[in-house]
């Protein structure tokens, strides 16, 4: 699908070190416009570090970042936003005491003379949420009274106000119910339909399979495979996340097999089904 095109965001040979810990080693990642890339990996695989590299919070020690065909330095959150890279962090960073409109425009309020242009901000908020088919009862409700899914929707919508070309979503469905998760996944699809490059960080293989086009796996700070959704099973992804040949599950299977093989040669094929 995105084969011959140039990626909107390309990371090459990214390395990052925190003291004695090598968090990222020679990592590559491509993000194409109109595509959802799921970034998966176990805890400590380097996902968060990579997100911080992309959004300018933690610049890399080595490697290059190319944005829209141009090599760029992303050494501050502001620089990332200027380029058109928006990030929605797991703690949504919304102000509970402000309504939806004020949260959407927080830090980039529209003015009319000395005062705020509430009418224009409300109109644009309504339009944006309508375009995204987001279900928010009223844009004048304080965010405190919204559900988890609605809050996530507000946070994601807010990232779109800067007209980004790439959106990073850090665990957007964590702690959401089934219906709310579906709502957020719909929203992610709409971001893709708008031609944005979406990087989805998730632990949830069901969500990844449901919405992603491509899955990039990180393991111990290195690339550990890239799959096209539809051509891969959950088991294959999990195998790549955990390291197919050297994880506790496979070791257990191997050990059981050895034991049973030694004890009773006749039952050699048995435990595989049960393991």
């Amino acid at each position: 699908m995105s084969g011959g095109r140039e990626p909107i965001l390309a990371l090459r040979g990214i390395s990052k070190r925190f003291g004695a810990v090598q968090a990222l080693t020679d990592v590559d990642l491509d993000v194409y416009a109109g595509e959802v890339v799921a970034l998966v990996g176990d805890n400590g695989a380097g996902k968060s570090t990579l997100v911080k590299v992309i959004c300018g919070v933690g610049p890399p020690d080595a490697g290059t970042i190319t944005f829209a065909g141009r090599e760029v330095r992303v050494d501050s959150p502001h620089a990332a936003q200027e380029l058109g890279i928006a990030t929605v962090f797991q703690d949504l960073a919304l102000c509970d005491n402000l309504d939806v409109v004020n949260n959407l425009f927080l830090g980039r309020e529209l003015r009319r003379g000395a005062a705020l242009d509430e009418v224009e901000m409300e109109r644009r908020s309504g339009n944006l949420l309508r375009e995204l088919s987001a279900r928010i009862p009223s844009v004048r409700l304080p965010v405190a009274s919204l559900s988890g899914g609605q809050r996530q929707t507000v946070a994601i919508s807010r990232s779109l106000l800067g007209d980004p070309r790439v959106v990073l979503l850090d665990e957007p469905t964590a702690a959401l119910g089934v219906a709310q998760t579906a709502q957020v996944l719909n929203l992610i699809e709409r971001l893709r339909d708008r031609g944005l490059g979406v990087v989805l960080i998730s632990h949830n293989m069901v969500d990844v399979q449901a919405v992603a086009d491509r899955v990039a796996v990180l393991r111990l700070g290195r690339n550990n495979g890239e799959f096209r959704v539809g051509e891969v099973t959950n088991e294959q992804i999990i195998a790549a996340i955990t390291g197919a040949t050297q994880n506790v599950v496979s070791e257990r299977v191997a050990r059981l097999r050895e034991q049973t093989a030694g004890d009773d040669p006749l039952a050699a094929g048995g435990p595989e089904g049960g393991a």
Partner: protein, 412 residues
């Protein structure tokens, strides 16, 4: 598409969304009423109750002479409460405002009376002292990270000490009884014709701005309030203001200091709710991390708010000294600090930051002032006054907590 004159504008129906349907528009409007203007209703009811109680206990409470006195008495309190409201909005506290107001009063008297500076210059110097103090305290709080409670507790002591040092051996300094300052604070009242004109102008301006906003919203196809609402509010406002003016002009009339205080309250209410700066104060008080990520310079907001608060405290101290005609070692001491915080909280400012009702300092100052004034008329000493004021403060906070709890329990 929607005719602005025939009620709520209906945005184009979009199947997959709930936003902007007429039902939601009305719901949203009710919600705004509940959380916004009508939110001050408990305080107004409380104020009416206080008036009824004191009037039945002593019929002179509501006579024009006493009401004019009340206006004179609460001017300084309202100004100080406006300042502390800003600090409370950040979820912080400033315990030094009483001392700062006392220091400003001392500086005013010493520069004006002892050193013979022109009245306006002396006032300016006294107010700038407040700004300086606030900037210093705000910087220590924001940059060094010392809790505001501690910084301003130290300030409470330090500025009181400086006040004593400034006053020196004299103890009490009197203003010249016929001087500009005393005349302005005690004997200058708005001319009757001007007061009546202002009491017409304010509702008219309110109506014009409401209708303009309503028209803009309708053009933008946003939900609008029903047409009768701003008209009804304007009419009520007109009647109320005219009644107050008529009553006060049975005596001396509306004091300029009271008008000055109301202007300060209204200006800062506008600043908080209608400007980007005020929005930043709301954001820092609501979720400091979100504010930071949104690119708000949190330190600058904090320092500027503490500077504003101390400046207003100094203005309040100056107004109080001018009304009393003197400053002494007790200026700004006693209940000054507690009354200002109580006024802000009774008016509907949350101690946890990020929430305040409209014109909270004015309404709170009216409540505190009415209680103090009424009890004084009854010749009850300060023991009863302290107990009653404390009880009202507690009641206000309890009501606020209950409202808050019901709001969260009802969720959306």
């Amino acid at each position: 598409m929607a005719d602005p004159a025939t009620g709520p504008a209906v945005p184009p129906p979009t199947p997959a969304t709930e936003i902007g349907s007429p039902k939601e528009a009305v719901g949203g409007w009710l919600q705004t009423l509940r959380t916004g203007d009508i939110g001050s209703l408990p305080i107004i009811i409380g104020l009416v109750l206080i008036v009824i109680v004191f009037q039945s206990l002593n019929p002179t409470f509501l006579n024009a002479f006493n009401l004019v006195n009340l206006c004179l008495q609460i001017a300084a309190l309202g100004i100080m409460a406006t300042g502390i409201t800003l600090v409370l909005m950040l979820g912080e506290i400033d315990l030094s405002i009483g001392s700062v107001s006392g220091l400003a009063a001392a500086v005013l008297l010493v520069t004006h009376v002892d050193h013979g500076l022109a009245p306006l210059l002396a006032v300016l110097i006294a107010v700038l002292v407040g700004t300086l103090v606030g900037t210093l305290q705000g910087s220590i709080f924001a940059r060094v990270g010392v809790p505001s409670f501690i910084v301003t507790l130290a300030g409470l002591l330090i500025w009181q000490g400086v006040q004593l040092r400034v006053l020196g051996e004299q103890g009490t300094i009197n203003l010249p009884p016929a001087g500009t300052l005393v005349r302005w604070a005690q004997f200058s009242f708005v001319p009757r014709w001007l007061a009546i004109a202002l009491a017409v102008l304010v509702p008219v301006l309110y109506l014009v701005f409401s209708l303009l906003t309503r028209h803009r919203r309708a053009s933008a196809e946003l939900p609008v309030t029903p047409l009768w609402l701003p008209i009804a509010v304007a009419v009520i406002l007109l009647v109320l203001l005219q009644l107050i003016v008529a009553k006060l002009y049975l005596d001396r009339g509306v004091p300029w200091t009271f008008v000055f205080m109301v202007l300060i309250v209204v200006f800062f209410d506008w600043l908080l709710r209608r400007t980007a700066y005020g929005r930043k104060i709301f954001a820092v008080g609501g979720n400091i991390e979100a504010a930071r990520r949104a690119g708000i310079n949190v330190d600058a907001i904090r320092i500027s708010v503490f500077a504003l608060c101390s400046t207003l405290a100094a203005v309040s101290g100056v107004v109080a000294a001018m009304r009393l005609g003197f400053a002494n070692q007790q200026s700004g001491g006693g209940e000054t600090l507690i009354n200002a915080i109580a006024a802000a909280v009774i008016g509907g400012t949350s101690l946890f930051g990020g929430r305040t009702r409209r014109y909270a300092p004015l309404l709170g100052a009216l409540v505190i002032g009415a209680i103090a004034n009424g009890l004084e008329l009854l010749s009850l000493s300060s023991d009863v006054r302290l107990i009653v004021t404390g009880t009202v403060l507690l009641a206000a906070v309890v009501i606020d907590a209950l409202v808050q709890r019901s709001r969260t329990s009802h969720g959306r």
